[in-house]
């Protein structure tokens, strides 16, 4: 350590309160090349002050201001000597420390309104509050942290596999239909006639049957299980299809087999 100190040249490395500082104070010496690292380890003037107080076992409730100020200024001088980029807050703190020190030297002005006030109180409050947060930060860092100490599980799954399709309720259909009718009524463009739904349904059914088979026998259009009304409706549907020229009904001879053929599929 001493050998390193010796390498420092005689010109004062700084002036504190006008007094030249010829060498770095022994008790807080750090190798110059480590200074920057050292400075980085401090989060600011409060951190540095706390370090000094704790290192020298100073009573935080009765800080010897002269001693602390001198220590602190040595550091700041050192940092400036090495032309480290020094946060302005360090210099501001120097001013504050000197102010507190000088106020303590003065006889406290006994005013009627204010009780005796320790000029160090605010500094102590800030130091303690900072220390509290500093320790809280260390504890927070030690808490298990997602991604660092454990991993969160999130399995791959295909959210696209079931595409949501619009839901249609029969009432929606009904409303759509009413909408059409209302518009139609307003426009008076065409007259909508009431038609039997079931005939229309059976027309579709017959066409669907014919689509694949091209031609069927008339009797095959009627399901053996069909009710009377189904038979009638099927027959009506067939007639309607014939009227709309969608099917062709043919009979080669009297009482022969009646063939139903889809015209559309030709």
């Amino acid at each position: 350590m001493d050998s390193v100190v010796d390498t420092i040249d005689t010109p004062p490395i700084a002036r504190i309160c006008g007094e030249p500082l010829l060498e770095i104070p022994q008790d807080l010496y750090i190798p110059p090349d480590a200074l920057e690292v050292f400075l980085d380890t401090f989060q600011g003037p409060l951190d540095l002050l706390l370090y000094l107080i704790r290192k020298h076992n100073l009573n935080i409730l009765d800080i010897p201001m002269a001693e602390l100020t001198q220590q602190y200024m040595s550091y700041v001088a050192m940092m400036r000597a090495d032309q480290l980029e020094l946060a302005a807050e360090y210099l501001l703190m120097t001013a504050l420390l000197i102010e507190i020190k000088s106020r303590m030297l003065l006889p406290s002005p006994k005013t009627e309104t204010e009780p005796e006030h320790d000029p160090r109180a605010e500094l102590v409050r800030r130091l303690l509050e900072y220390e509290q947060m500093k320790k809280a930060a260390i504890e927070l860092t030690e808490l298990p942290q997602a991604g660092r100490d454990f991993n969160i599980i999130q399995l791959w799954f295909d959210q696209q596999s079931t595409e949501q399709l619009p839901n249609v309720h029969i009432d929606d259909l009904h409303h759509a239909w009413i909408g059409i009718l209302t518009r139609a009524k307003v426009n008076r463009h065409h007259q909508i006639k009431r038609e039997s739904l079931s005939v229309r349904a059976f027309m579709s059914k017959i066409l669907r049957d014919l689509r694949n088979r091209h031609q069927v026998e008339f009797q095959d259009l009627f399901s053996p299980a069909a009710t009377v009304s189904e038979v009638v409706v099927t027959f009506l549907a067939l007639l309607e299809l014939a009227k709309e020229l969608l099917v062709e009904i043919s009979q080669s001879h009297a009482f022969g087999i009646i063939h139903v053929r889809s015209i559309s599929s030709t």
Binding site: L155, S161, R200
Partner: protein, 216 residues
């Protein structure tokens, strides 16, 4: 899974060899947390290449069996191994991501209504009733949904396709037949009384049935 007599310290890999159970645990954890399927080459890194691919493969097959009864399965895909949910669980999981159920446009709904109530109809019929042209995408939407299909062509110039609703449409709307569609009662008020008289007696009885059903 039986606990080893003294728990192996997973940190000190060099001192005590890992038990197959611990290796499986580590494999599981890696596969459950991985963002991508993990190939064997990656999985070997977990143990600093200590175990060969064959051994890890055997353990992976073991894990696959362990998970057999679960809702999540270990599968081997092109780029490696991964856990994934079984398809049968999907409908439940979908409830957590409620994309607001999409709705069909008015054009789609009206077209569907016309086809349902007036089938079989051509595109021209639909356009005439709606008073506006029907875009191809509307019919495509309904066809893709499996709700309508072409059941033939009308024998007029251009042979336009005739559309009808499908059995799938009835299923999806929880209907047994088209007669269960809501009766168009409101038409009475919309259409003149004259039209009413044209209804056949037969259809009256049919309608009565429909109306009873619709009240269910």
């Amino acid at each position: 899974m039986s606990a080893p007599s003294h728990p192996p310290d997973p940190l000190t890999t060099t001192s005590s060899p890992l038990s197959p159970d611990t290796i499986k645990q580590i494999l599981e954890a890696a596969l459950l947390t991985a963002q991508e399927p993990l190939p064997l080459s990656e999985l070997r890194k977990l143990f600093d290449q200590q175990f060969n691919a064959a051994m890890l493969s055997a353990l992976l097959e073991d894990i696959r069996r362990d998970w057999n009864e679960k809702s999540v399965e270990l599968v081997k895909v092109a780029s490696g191994w991964r856990f994934q949910t079984k398809p049968e669980i999907q409908p439940y999981l979908d409830r957590l991501t409620p994309q607001r159920p999409p709705r069909y446009s008015r054009a789609v709904m009206e077209t569907l209504a016309i086809i349902a109530y007036r089938q079989p109809v051509t595109r021209g019929d639909i356009e005439e009733i709606r008073g506006v042209s029907v875009s191809a995408s509307v019919l495509k939407t309904l066809t893709a949904r499996g709700w309508i299909e072409s059941v033939g062509q009308r024998n007029v110039p251009g042979k336009p396709a005739l559309f009808a609703t499908t059995a799938h449409f009835l299923n999806d709307l929880n209907l047994n037949s088209l007669e269960e569609l809501p009766p168009l009662e409101e038409m009475k008020s919309l259409i003149g009384q004259d039209d009413q008289n044209q209804v056949l007696p037969l259809e009256q009885s049919h309608l009565a049935t429909v109306e009873t059903q619709s009240r269910n």
